[in-house]
């Protein structure tokens, strides 16, 4: 049986959730196409992770070596390339994450195998891989097909698929050699996030501000809304990029995931990075002047309008109804 090989991702002794999500989608495709789902895990001290991983797949390729201290592109590329040449999987999948974004395009070029990235859906049709992905900041969906190939590569967007559940049977573990390599990119250390002034991921009420605010001096307009509601102020990535708010306030894939009762997105268009961080919000309200902003596609309530007209009145009215 041909394989769908999932490249496992782990950090600080835990499998990443994106990895289990990718395995779950892999199973769905495998069930329809008569394929089996396998996984390769690479690192040091990963026996217990391999044990866990075998509950989800029929085979775990274990590449363990104490010299692999972290995600290391060149080592991963070498081991996975060799595995692909030997096993000839029909598909190799990974999360569209800081590891997947790094490894997969290099692997694609290295092996001359077609790659499609950041997929929100994939399917096999007559042995060919089709995918759906997004462009223009989530404003359009694009259906693509890949050039016919012996093996297809794809990265799947995190937070889109439900994580896999353990199966009844445990997969076998196959140890894979790790050859000595001279590395040109050396891992030094992992730097943990800075200590936070406030933990937005635990707040019940969050108001997020995006680039629609236009200028740093205008942020207090939105901050007042957060304070009136007794909530906290978060923001989208571009606000942190410009240094207008600290990174601890960033909502999204590269920042924090929030799970408030209510989230109010102000001047935020709703790019994938941001949306990934607000999936857990119970009610989402969006205020944006662009009716085509993707944020409205995932919101419960919306106002299409100028935030500088809407917010002051909203604040005033909220003070009244309180």
């Amino acid at each position: 049986m041909r394989e769908i090989l999932v490249i496992a991702e782990h950090r600080e002794g835990e499998l990443r959730s994106s990895c289990l999500e990718t395995i779950s989608k892999a199973h769905e495709v495998a069930d329809k196409g008569g394929l089996e789902v396998t996984s390769v895990i690479i690192g040091s001290n990963i026996k217990s992770l391999a044990e866990k991983l075998r509950e989800y797949v029929s085979k775990v390729y274990l590449a363990e070596n104490h010299e692999i201290t972290y995600y290391d592109c060149e080592i991963y590329k070498h081991i996975v390339s060799k595995l692909i040449r030997e096993v000839k999987p029909l598909m190799v999948l990974m999360g569209h994450t800081s590891y997947g974004m790094d490894l997969m395009p290099g692997l694609s070029s290295h092996l001359s195998l077609p790659l499609v990235t950041d997929c929100i859906d994939i399917e096999l049709s007559n042995g060919k891989l089709n995918a759906i992905r997004q462009a223009y900041g989530g404003r359009v969906n694009v259906k693509v097909s890949l050039k016919p190939s012996e093996t297809y590569l794809a990265t799947l967007r995190a937070g889109v698929f439900q994580p896999a559940k353990p199966t009844q049977t445990k997969g076998e573990i196959v140890e894979v050699d790790v050859p000595p390599l001279e590395l040109k990119v050396k891992h030094l250390e992992v730097i943990r996030p800075e200590i936070e002034d406030i933990d937005i991921s635990k707040a019940d009420i969050v108001v997020g501000v995006g680039l629609g605010i236009g200028a740093r001096e205008k942020i207090p307009v939105v901050k007042e809304l957060a304070e009136t509601l007794g909530g906290v102020l978060g923001c989208s990535r571009p606000i942190v990029d410009r240094g207008w708010l600290p990174q601890t306030r960033q909502i999204g894939f590269s920042g924090k995931s929030i799970k408030p009762k209510i989230y109010i997105a102000v001047g935020i268009s709703g790019a994938a990075n941001h949306v990934a961080g607000i999936k857990g919000a119970r009610t989402i309200v969006a205020i944006n002047k662009d009716s085509g902003a993707p944020i409205f596609n995932i919101s419960d309530y919306g106002i299409v309008g100028d935030l500088f007209q809407v917010i002051p009145i909203l604040v005033q009215e909220l003070k009244k109804v309180k």
């Binding site: 800081s98 790094d102 601890t248 209510i262 109010i264 409205f296």
Partner: protein, 266 residues
């Protein structure tokens, strides 16, 4: 240090997009174009390194004949900010290239350029594949790293890079030159290009390279294509927002009630 920066002109979108008649692209007529966000950060990082360590900054961009004016505008802005040379790989056969076509072509063009470091943005926000940087590196046989939020030159041709991971984590890596690094937004605050300098930049020499000069033809380009666009469409709403209508006053008043009720219901 001689640095090459790969840049792309992308449409600047602030409104609802429309799908064109082919059903495979958006309507681009009437849209303004600008330099891709993280490419602008890559250029800024190159200029900062040049100011500190000397050397040159060369920008390179790939475009079809139709997109030439947009690419030129972007390149002039790069000149105005301090780039020394610019290369435009431009030909009618570069319509809608996929990431591998772009990477192969840029890599071919770069074979005649001297560099120690290649910088690219980590993601073009129009098609957002995030493939170009690592692909170019692999084709040219260079080590690479991605998603840089800090670049620091060490001694002996080594560079310290902080890569952005998820949830505020970073990975510190050391990379040996010559190398390729993809740059994430937020690494720096790009300088503005003064209009007067942009106008002056239009007089600067611009090296244009055609497909033929790179010995590329349509057949070759087609054989490189990995990704075929079948259809583009506006996504359906997951939770279709109930749009609150009326004047700003009316809408805000209605919304205040909704918010207050939502919070009361727990």
């Amino acid at each position: 240090m001689n640095i090459v920066v790969c840049v792309k002109a992308i449409p600047y979108i602030e409104e609802r997009v429309k799908i064109d008649r082919s059903g495979k692209d958006i309507v681009k007529a009437g849209l303004k174009f600008k330099i891709n966000d993280s490419d602008e950060n890559a250029l800024e990082e190159a200029l900062i390194l040049k100011e500190k360590y000397g050397g040159t900054v060369t920008v390179i961009s790939l475009c079809s004949d139709r997109e030439l004016t947009y690419a030129e505008q972007v390149v002039w802005e790069c000149y105005a900010k301090g780039a020394d040379q610019a290369i435009l790989v431009c030909d009618k056969i570069f319509e809608n290239p996929d990431p591998y076509i772009t990477s192969k072509t840029l890599a071919e063009a770069l074979r005649s350029v001297k560099y120690d470091l290649i910088l690219t943005g980590c993601q073009a926000i129009d098609d957002s594949y995030m493939q170009i940087g690592p692909m170019i590196a692999e084709i040219l046989g260079l080590p690479y790293t991605t998603l840089a939020v800090k670049i620091q030159v060490l001694d002996n041709g080594r560079i310290l890079v902080h890569r952005e991971l998820e949830e505020g984590y970073r990975q510190a890596v050391e990379i040996k030159l010559p190398a390729l690094i993809t740059v994430q937004t937020g690494i720096n605050l790009p300088r503005y290009a003064a209009l007067i300098k942009v106008i002056a930049a239009k007089k600067k020499p611009l090296r244009k390279i055609t497909a033929q000069e790179l010995k590329l033809d349509v057949e070759m380009i087609n054989s490189w294509r990995n990704i075929f666009i079948e259809e583009m469409y506006i996504p359906k709403a997951e939770r279709a927002a109930q749009i609150i209508t009326g004047s700003p006053e009316e809408a805000a008043t209605k919304l205040a009630l909704i918010i207050s009720n939502t919070l009361k219901s727990g």
